[in-house]
């Protein structure tokens, strides 16, 4: 299984590189797709001011990197949340954690003077804070609705997510109606999963934080595995369950916040990818963490390229595509879970 995981990871990483190259090389002219490999071959990183250099370095390249970082962040956040709650439906979007992050970012957008005064780093920090608040709320509500055998109930989690999402959506709508048309368009596009407004400095900040978060989780992987025994079982094999649970929940909120800061409310990535990865290589975090990050990066990178090119010169928000894939997966998982719960009762 371990070897299988490496083979899958290497294969998907190769596909990821290929998709990154294609995303950089593919463009559209008058509604037609055009492949421009010469652009990549001839671009100079040393002050090249040509149009194609600027398109590549300040438009396509940050967008490709951002889509990969977003995909990896959201997929790994979903994987960890599902492991901690022992619930395969625990996706940061469905649980309202992305909603909390989105609300915090809209609040920041509502006060543009704040960003100008504080700097670009305010958006990721706000997104993380919003995600953190929503995660604590949703886990608290779900916990109060019942824990069975160390497992949060499916319905409790989903309903808590519905409540948090509804609240965040209401406050966001209230704020958005007061936005001027330009800010409204930018913000609603971003909310729907528009990855087109990324700056290199913001991207570097988010990527470094995401790498640190991933490394932390990788060092906790064998302890996270022990949660398959429930919290008492994890404690019996030497895991300080409460501490690991809290830290891992905090780090998955951080990853969600980072993903939302760059790509808005991109749904279902944290649901589809971990589910597929577990189907391929099992549930051992030591095998799944890297593969999930690579697979998440690949999914969003491909989805973003399709979203950019399919209706060119218009753009489709990436969230529309991930929702189209994610909804049937959610329905299938929900059916399996509720059938299982029905049998258990």
């Amino acid at each position: 299984m371990r070897r299988q995981a490496w083979i899958w990871t290497a294969g998907l990483a190769a596909l990821l590189l290929l998709s990154a190259w294609l995303s950089m090389a593919l463009g559209s002219q008058q509604g037609r797709l055009v492949l421009e490999p010469d652009w990549i071959a001839t671009v100079s990183f040393d002050g090249d001011q040509s149009l194609h250099a600027r398109v590549l370095l300040f438009w396509r390249a940050p967008r490709v990197v951002a889509s990969m970082v977003i995909g990896a962040c959201l997929a790994v956040a979903g994987l960890v949340l599902q492991g901690l709650t022992r619930n395969p439906l625990a996706d940061p979007y469905l649980l309202g954690i992305s909603g909390g992050a989105g609300l915090a970012v809209v609040l920041v957008h509502a006060l543009p003077a704040l960003v100008v005064g504080a700097g670009w780093w305010l958006v990721p920090v706000a997104a993380f804070s919003g995600a953190q608040g929503a995660a604590l709320l949703v886990l608290g509500i779900a916990r109060s609705s019942g824990v069975s055998g160390g497992r949060l109930s499916v319905l409790g989690l989903i309903l808590a997510g519905v409540v948090i999402n509804a609240f965040c959506a209401a406050v966001m709508s209230f704020l958005l109606v007061r936005f001027d048309p330009f800010r409204l368009r930018i913000t609603t596009l971003w909310l729907a999963g528009g990855i087109g407004f990324t700056r290199w400095d913001q991207l570097a900040f988010v990527t470094l934080l995401a790498l640190a978060a991933w490394l932390f989780l990788r060092l906790q992987a064998h302890r996270l595995n022990a949660f398959a025994l429930g919290t008492s079982g994890a404690s019996a094999v030497g895991v300080d369950a409460d501490r690991v649970l809290l830290r891992a929940a905090l780090v998955s909120s951080l990853l969600t916040g980072l993903g939302v800061a760059l790509g808005g409310l991109l749904g279902y990535v944290g649901l589809i990818v971990p589910h597929a990865v577990r189907g391929l290589v099992g549930s051992d975090f030591r095998r799944t963490l890297l593969l999930t990050a690579v697979a998440g990066a690949l999914l969003v990178a491909v989805a973003d390229s399709v979203a950019r090119l399919v209706l060119a010169p218009e753009e489709l928000p990436v969230g529309v595509l991930t929702a189209l894939i994610g909804c049937p997966v959610l329905l299938m998982l929900l059916r399996v879970q509720l059938r299982g719960a029905g049998r258990g009762s």
């Binding site: 064998h222 019996a236 094999v237």
Partner: protein, 249 residues
């Protein structure tokens, strides 16, 4: 040669807000098995969790292998004592081998990669519990008895000197119970494991353990098999008439 002391509890009181068990002194040596019996809600599982260091004692101390559990980290404790609770909220999509490997968690290094010693401990645990053939089978594809053997193999892979089992034979039919207790007896003899088992069946407790600790509303006391007052003491602990106590062999 006398066997080394594995477990030593002194003036132990355990419970949540109010003590359920108090004033308990207990010593257990290598290879010994102690059965804990008593009515529901009297604090048997609470006692077991306190002996495992999962709950802090209200008063008194618990030493395992000479170390005070209250001063040990989670990791240090898990290298000395392990507990198998009755409830099995485990993930049944794991294979038998994956479950047994989880027993090595306290021994893994920074990156959590198993070394040769870990792999050997897992193989030995699988062999001891006769699970080699089932190692790649998922837990939801094996019988309840086989799953219980896999859980015990996980605790063996942890390589502790003291094993605490909460109703290990519940939900097993007679044949599986016999197999399970034979396995535990073999492990005690071959690996010098000390066992504390919460059991509900009184004849089984006297048959499978060297000593029996009876918990009742009036306190905790060992009731040896040769005690002429045994039937009366058990009847008082369970608050039933003496004639309702089953034959104890």
């Amino acid at each position: 040669m006398t066997a080394a002391t594995v477990l030593e509890a002194r003036d132990l009181a355990c419970g949540y807000d109010a003590p359920l068990v108090s004033g308990l002194d207990l010593t257990l040596s290598q290879g010994q098995a102690l059965a804990v019996v008593g009515p529901n809600g009297v604090g048997k599982t609470t006692l077991l969790r306190t002996l495992a260091g999962q709950l802090p004692p209200l008063t008194g101390t618990v030493h395992v292998g000479g170390a005070d559990l209250a001063r040990q980290s989670h990791l240090q404790r898990a290298k000395r004592v392990t507990i198998l609770l009755q409830e099995d909220p485990g993930d049944h999509s794991l294979t038998v081998r994956e479950l047994v490997e989880l027993g090595r968690t306290p021994h893994l290094g920074l990156w959590g990669r198993p070394g040769p010693e870990d792999l050997q401990a897992v193989e030995q645990a699988l062999q001891a519990c006769h699970l080699e053939e089932l190692a790649h089978r998922r837990l939801d594809r094996v019988s309840g008895g086989e799953r219980q053997r896999a859980r015990i193999a996980m605790t063996l892979a942890q390589q502790t000197a003291l094993l605490l089992l909460d109703e290990p034979a519940s939900h097993l039919d007679l044949r599986r119970r016999v197999e399970l207790f034979e396995l535990l007896t073999t492990l005690r003899r071959q690996r010098h494991l000390a066992l504390v088992m919460v059991l509900h069946d009184l004849p089984e407790a006297y048959q499978e353990a060297d000593r029996v600790l009876v918990l009742g509303q009036s306190g905790a006391a060992e009731v040896p098999a040769g005690d002429p007052e045994r039937r009366g003491k058990l009847a008082r602990a369970f608050e039933v008439p003496e004639e309702r106590i089953p034959g104890l062999g």
